[in-house]
Symmetry: C2
């Protein structure tokens, strides 16, 4: 493979696309949901399940977290993130920017980069496009994200515009450094003898809820040129309608000959609506985070396992789901585990939630291929409100 990724669209239905993204490590059918493995582990889920039943082809690692702990030197000495974690399919790593910019009181921002204090121990660190590229190369990530600034969702027009312009300059610097590091990175992945390909670099479109700024950011990002394009700065507190408006405006204008990635989003409804706008890739902590708090995603909407009415309910979380949790365990048993504080409650509900997200993507792919995406979407969205209607 001479290109970092291979990207082919196998079917389109309206703006929705079904495709195949091939990285140097795995073949990924899109639309795809990428489980989040922030610290090199998907919370509560053994890789064995992600490889077999859940069949995740790519997961996300967070540069900020891995940089602070265990640190780049440890991961480098263990042969890179794949060897360290034993996950040998693809890793997409974010740039660390999103987490750093969430530390509002702990950072100092300049054109050069951002100085911040670790949320773990207050130690001082510096991230910049160059540093982020170096870290992601050392990790051995398969899809690298440019280092971008994520302004608050409620930043005004001028502040958002300044920010996206700096993001564009940082994207340019990211690409330059990424290319320089390609040789060095080869050394890291040399431990994987069957691995000849390069990592891919994705650019990020910012601009908050301002459509004209989104357009400006998109144009600047395309001008630099990347292997894929991401939409950042959504699902950061804005109204749903704003997110959908931005998606509807931006996604179709993104290059069709590259994958489109909506960062950190979202609910099953969000995913379907974004696919409807032409987005191909997603990541979100919701399946595992909600799993830990006893909240299950189902084809009929969300379900709270703490609800007393489930105490003696022998039905599964979702009768329409064929995952290993729904095939075996009852609402009553899962509720008992949750109420009793058993770790297996988090494990099992997180597993189901991930299975539901993966299965939703599979159904979306199939609907696009059979040109029935609109009817699938309508039915799927209608189903999601059933539990609300029945007061679950």
């Amino acid at each position: 493979m001479t290109q970092p990724i291979d990207w082919t669209i196998s079917a389109s239905d309206g703006k929705a696309r079904a495709g195949t993204l091939t990285t140097r490590r795995s073949v990924i059918e899109t639309p795809v949901f990428m489980p989040v493995g922030t610290q090199g582990s998907v919370k509560g889920i053994r890789f064995e399940w992600l490889e077999s039943e859940l069949d995740a082809r790519i997961i996300l690692g967070n540069t900020y977290h891995l940089f602070l702990r265990p640190g780049v030197e440890v991961i480098r000495s263990m042969g890179g993130l794949h060897k360290f974690t034993t996950w040998d399919r693809s890793f997409l790593t974010d740039s660390g920017g999103f987490q750093v910019f969430s530390l509002t009181d702990l950072r100092k921002l300049t054109e050069d980069g951002v100085e911040f204090r670790s949320h773990l121990d207050g130690s001082k660190h510096f991230l910049s496009p160059e540093v982020s590229m170096k870290i992601q190369a050392a990790l051995g990530s398969d899809i690298v994200m440019v280092f971008d600034e994520c302004p608050p969702g409620d930043a005004g027009f001028d502040a958002t515009r300044s920010s996206l312009q700096m993001t564009a300059r940082w994207a340019q610097r990211s690409k330059k450094r990424f290319d320089e590091l390609a040789v060095a990175e080869r050394k890291v992945v040399a431990n994987a003898p069957d691995l000849s390909g390069k990592a891919a670099l994705f650019g990020i479109v910012q601009g908050a809820g301002h459509l004209d700024l989104r357009k400006e950011s998109l144009e600047k990002t395309i001008e630099i040129g990347f292997d894929g394009y991401a939409i950042g700065g959504l699902s950061v507190g804005e109204e749903k309608s704003v997110m959908y408006e931005v998606l509807d405006f931006v996604a179709p204008q993104m290059p069709s000959d590259a994958p489109r990635y909506l960062m950190g989003v979202g609910t099953p409804e969000d995913l379907i609506e974004a696919i409807n706008c032409g987005v191909d890739m997603f990541d979100c902590v919701l399946p595992t985070r909600n799993g830990r708090t006893g909240s299950a995603f189902t084809s009929q909407g969300k379900l709270n396992i703490r609800n007393a009415k489930f105490a003696s309910d022998s039905r599964p979380l979702d009768a329409a789901c064929s995952c290993s949790v729904c095939r075996r365990y009852s609402l009553g048993y899962l509720r008992h585990l949750y109420q009793a504080g058993e770790m297996t409650a988090s494990i099992l509900i997180s597993h189901h939630n991930l299975a539901f997200f993966m299965d939703t993507m599979k159904k979306a792919r199939e609907a696009i291929k059979s040109l029935t995406f609109q009817s699938f979407r309508k039915e799927f969205l209608a189903g999601l409100s059933e539990n609300d209607a029945s007061g679950v």
Copy 2:
């Protein structure tokens, strides 16, 4: 099967025995370690792993905990403990006595039984031989334990003697009620159509560290007559030497034509020493409890995953272990997961610990069958002190 259990000894080596215990639900090779599923779940371990790789044939459920939460009515309405939890191999349930007698400030003891307050919400409850039998029958347990009093390990001779005499009277009452309930219980297990056998009832020998009281308790228990015999009241704070002395004295005198069960014990060393005295069955929370605190049992002794020297160590927890955790994950990665507070650290280390306990039992069985138990024991115990010697 007309008898509640079938018990055959296939080999003996000195006092150590290898046998097969067949309950109405599963065939159990002994010596056996029973993972603890206090609240109907082995902490951090999905049943799928217990059924496949770990191949546990019997696990333990705690009557006290299940009685308080989710409560007998919920479990009964869900078809019994097996249907509720989906574990269809054997369950041994304790009587609830041990937990109640741990609530020193919350109980009131009479000849009739014990009144206590729930550690969960302070609600008042009553347990007696009759009530315990009724609960265990409703759970659908395969091996039921008599309701016994567990006096403090440092109770004097007279108090311990009075206690064991009451335990004997309670054992008699337990047996009477157990037999009466046999018909009623059939209704509970009627949901399992392939299940024709009866549950078994085990008696418990008390007497703390007083050998003559142990003898008295043993005689009284044998006189009543049970399907199996357990040693209670050990590993409750006494010196190791006292426990070994009691085991050496009591175990060989227990009926050889019934399984012998050492309750709530212990470390790998304890298990091997008890097998050497002729014990067949064990349960203990150590593998999963230690797994959650980052402490691993290995063939070279205990290992603390928090130790900084493991940060970049690519070796497994135990090079001699072939479990799925040791075949795949490194000390460095497991340490990172633990330090980062990832649930998967508890999951994976608990899994290894259980695998190590199960494998130790398997090796003991094989050694007994090949009449090499003494050399196995010597080598195993010598191995356990290697980490101590090397300062791990």
